[in-house]
Symmetry: C2
Amino acid sequence: MIGIFDSGVGGMTVARAVEKVNPSCPIIYYGDLARTPYGSKSPETIIKYSRQNTEFLLSKGAKLIIIACNSASSVASEVLRKEFAVPIFEVITPAVHKVLATSENGRIGVIGTRATIKSDIYNRQIKDGAPDFKVFSQSCPLLVPLVEEGWLDHRETKMIVRRYLHPLKLKKIDTLVLGCTHYPLLSNLIRHRVGKRVKVIDSSEAVALELQQYLEANPDLAAELSCDIASSFYASDVTDAAIATAKRIFGRNIDLIKVDPYC
Amino acid sequence: MIGIFDSGVGGMTVARAVEKVNPSCPIIYYGDLARTPYGSKSPETIIKYSRQNTEFLLSKGAKLIIIACNSASSVASEVLRKEFAVPIFEVITPAVHKVLATSENGRIGVIGTRATIKSDIYNRQIKDGAPDFKVFSQSCPLLVPLVEEGWLDHRETKMIVRRYLHPLKLKKIDTLVLGCTHYPLLSNLIRHRVGKRVKVIDSSEAVALELQQYLEANPDLAAELSCDIASSFYASDVTDAAIATAKRIFGRNIDLIKVDPYC
């Protein structure tokens, strides 16, 4: 089974993408809704929560972990790789690979939570792959609450998106990374705002494709992950709003099971 | 010492109001920033956190507790009063007393988080005191993140405030309760929106005044609470944004001490 965790339900955009490309591998999802969001918290706190989430998924039988949260990927993935023996995927590196393969003018925009942007990880990883690329980052802390409210098409959301993206447009970027798993729900709005010539990279899709390639190269692990039981979705808190967002992402009802392992 | 807790730093509006009317009583503040916000979480989770926060404050020497968070006041105050022997104040009842003393036409608006509004507590308490009053409630989940971003005067904030308050204006309310400790930071904007004829009730000020009256009636407790040590401010997570909001509320630098008692 593939273990996927996020601070909330936003990471379900990753779960959905993984399910699409690997339908035979059941998913164990854990959303830390009792402590969501992570993007406004300190690296120390995010690392502690990420460690606990990983332990929970392993206890449920996960053989591979995907950190489906950019904030946790940014600050906790190195620690988790040191501490746990299973393969650990995160959402940053696959998006960076796609950036390097996509951009023509080497001017990249990155949007994310405050924790993700402050970690500077996209900038560092992109520069590692292409030292002459220019990376322009913008934290967009209000987009997560707007998505969680379901304000996907409100005038206020459009204005806030415009305010956040305006400085990046001025930089003449040709590629924009959606560095938060909530943002794909706003992708139409964001695409409209940056214009057709800017390629928009969705880290959810990018990690799903890298996982697929990895499993093709590791057939034994693929066989181990594949089995006939259904995916299950756990959360440390369950609210009507979370259930509604989960349904919006999957296009079907998701049975969120409440668990309370660490807090 | 007076113990005050909140999910984050919003409750510092209560701490500041209490400090103003009882300058001789030091405060122990605890902001549960590692798990903030509460308003979008389930009653069960909010109760658990509130119990832990109270235990922490008592362990630090608090002799009286103020729940400086409307969401926690709404769902957890009865449980805490049963479980703990110290006097427990919350922010709902004092605001309701003020409503009952203030309103002329008996048409009351209440704004708050989703948890507060869903608890229906303002409606029930106001109706207990004045069965013929009409209460119109509106949850405003985006106002907390807007305040935490410091977007106190942005055009988008004004539009969102207008969208939330519009249905209440149509109801011809004469009194509006700010049912969340973050909202006093938007009170100019809110007052402007509802118009001069609507009285705006700030639960932070209301609880500080009720506490003052209570201490005047209980001089022994007042003497026990009063001492010569400085107030202290603890938080389960500390970020730059929290420090900035704390400074905005108090008008001075607040030294936030990181503690990690329960998560």
